[in-house]
Amino acid sequence: MQKAFSSVGLHEWDLPVGYIPDMRVSGRLFLSESLSESLEDGAIRQLANVATLPGIIGHSFGMPDIHWGYGFPIGGVAAFSEEEGIISPGGVGFDINCGVRMIATPLKVSDLGSREDIIGRLYKNVPTGVGSKSALQLSGSALDDLLALGSKWAVTEGYGLADDCTRCEEGGYMKEAVPGNVSEKARKRGIPQCGTLGSGNHFLELQVVSEIQDQEAAKVFGVEEGNVCCMIHCGSRGLGHQVCTDHLKILEKATQKYGISLPDRQLSCAPLTSPEGEKYFGAMAAAANYAWANRQIITHQVRTLFESAFGVSYNEMPLIYDVAHNVAKWEMHTVDGSDKRVCVHRKGATRAFGPGRSELPEVFHKTGQPVIIPGSMGTASYLLAGTETAMEKTFGSTCHGAGRVSSRKEAKKAVRGAAVSAELKKQGIIVRAPSGDAIAEEAPEMYKSSDEVIRVVHEAGLSRIVARMMPLGVIKG
């Protein structure tokens, strides 16, 4: 582990105040020795930068999939006090509520028939990649409703099951959304894109539940060993990107107005109680709702296709859960022995609320919430459960994925997309993407080992392994 850190527990490291000037709290990183070998200086610097922000409580946290981003590190978590804290788009990212959901099916691998065929049909039915448009024709007023109600809007419009919303973080929509705070530009970008996957690391993957480690929780969550499931990873598309862009400008001015000194312009921010901070929060929440609706529409496309392809009923494909990776939310947490309302920023991190939390639907009260962690292309993904330890240590947060270890430039140098596809095909995993580069950049060796990242969060107690899933086929944008 790098010299600057000191060990404070199993896989738990402290970056002391003073590592850079003006740190208000220390950094707290969850990492194994082997994962520390790929820890970049840029990520450490960003972890420290976050610790300088006004009103930060506890620590600036880094999850084991931490890597160098902009503003916050990817895998960064920070909570801010209601009275003195700030909100920052740099702690949320351009892709507001980029997140992941998992849908169960009663199908076995043998029921799928040709994997090329079903992956090909998914690729045809779910719009992916640059320039793709949704078949959905949204009116301006429908977009307003969608921005206010997220998944709930989509389900009401017939794109889901009644129980889908209870199986989403926040019930599928943030009540604080203010559609009026979303600019005309963002709306123009959002109208043609609801129900599209996007590109980069976004994907739709068919998986098989290969191993159950916690039978009781698996039963509650609704997963069975040997069953096929579907994982969807995408976000708020151009609408969310534009909301971030719009408010970065506003919050840069606010940073000066409120006399906040920053080590990185991308951390521009405003007090949570300021008009600028409140305006961003309302717009961000609306964009988060767009992302939930987006994943809901794609879920509908998958269920409809599976109905016609395999004769399985729409109702037999329940949503296991849907989690947000990039978001800021008001949450109640115990701080110095008292309950406090704090604004938790998670950027490339997952909420992992433990048993008994009132925010969770009753079905998860004993288990804690489902936590869905995708692996890199071709490697295992995991279903875990939130824990008390996460509540105590990280404001109820855990990792969000495997975490990149190599740049896209290095990826394209090291591997060719066609070779990666061929190698995965040998393992029975079918990949469809619009270009070889899209596959090369997301090749498994460009990421940390998902098994190792999951081992760390499990052993550190930030979440508890329930099930492991192996990929069968994936479509990428």
């Binding site: 990817i74 990649g129 270890v405 619009p434 270009s435 899209a438």
Partner: protein, 139 residues
């Protein structure tokens, strides 16, 4: 075509980072746009039509950021693949001519969406006759 002497790929773990080197501010801005559109549309591009955009901003870095952000917006909502841009600076900012063609899936797919232009580390440097900047594109 991208001139490798003027647009350099720099390592960045999560996103796309480029260093732009140019001998004028006009060229710097044009090359920055070229670097961004090479990520979005890496294939062929034929100039068939033009669009004009106007950006107002005081600081040079703000102007560059606003310009690139506006290009992303225009390209996406108007399904317009930008082959090249010609920039003219004005008292209040700039006027840019975007030369390109309508997006066609068969010809233009395969790139990576740029979610946004980061403000992290965005600064324009002048060394002798040359200008340079580093930009992180979130993808």
């Amino acid at each position: 075509m991208v001139n490798p002497m003027s647009i350099e790929e720099l390592p960045h773990t999560a996103d796309v980072r480029r260093r732009i080197l140019a001998d004028s501010r006009e060229e710097l801005f044009s090359l920055a746009a070229q670097a961004m559109f090479a990520v979005l549309y890496p294939g062929e591009c034929d100039v068939r039509s033009e669009k004009i955009i106007t950006i107002d901003a005081e600081e040079p870095e703000d102007l560059l950021w606003e310009y690139l952000s506006e290009l992303l917006f225009v390209s996406e909502v108007e399904s317009f693949v930008v082959c090249e841009t010609v920039v003219r600076f004005t008292n209040s900012g700039l006027v840019a001519t975007l030369r390109g063609e309508p997006f066609e899936r068969e010809r233009h797919e395969g790139g990576r969406e740029v979610k946004g232009v980061s403000l992290s580390g965005l600064s324009i440097q002048t060394t002798g006759d040359m200008m340079s900047c580093e930009i992180i594109f979130d993808i």
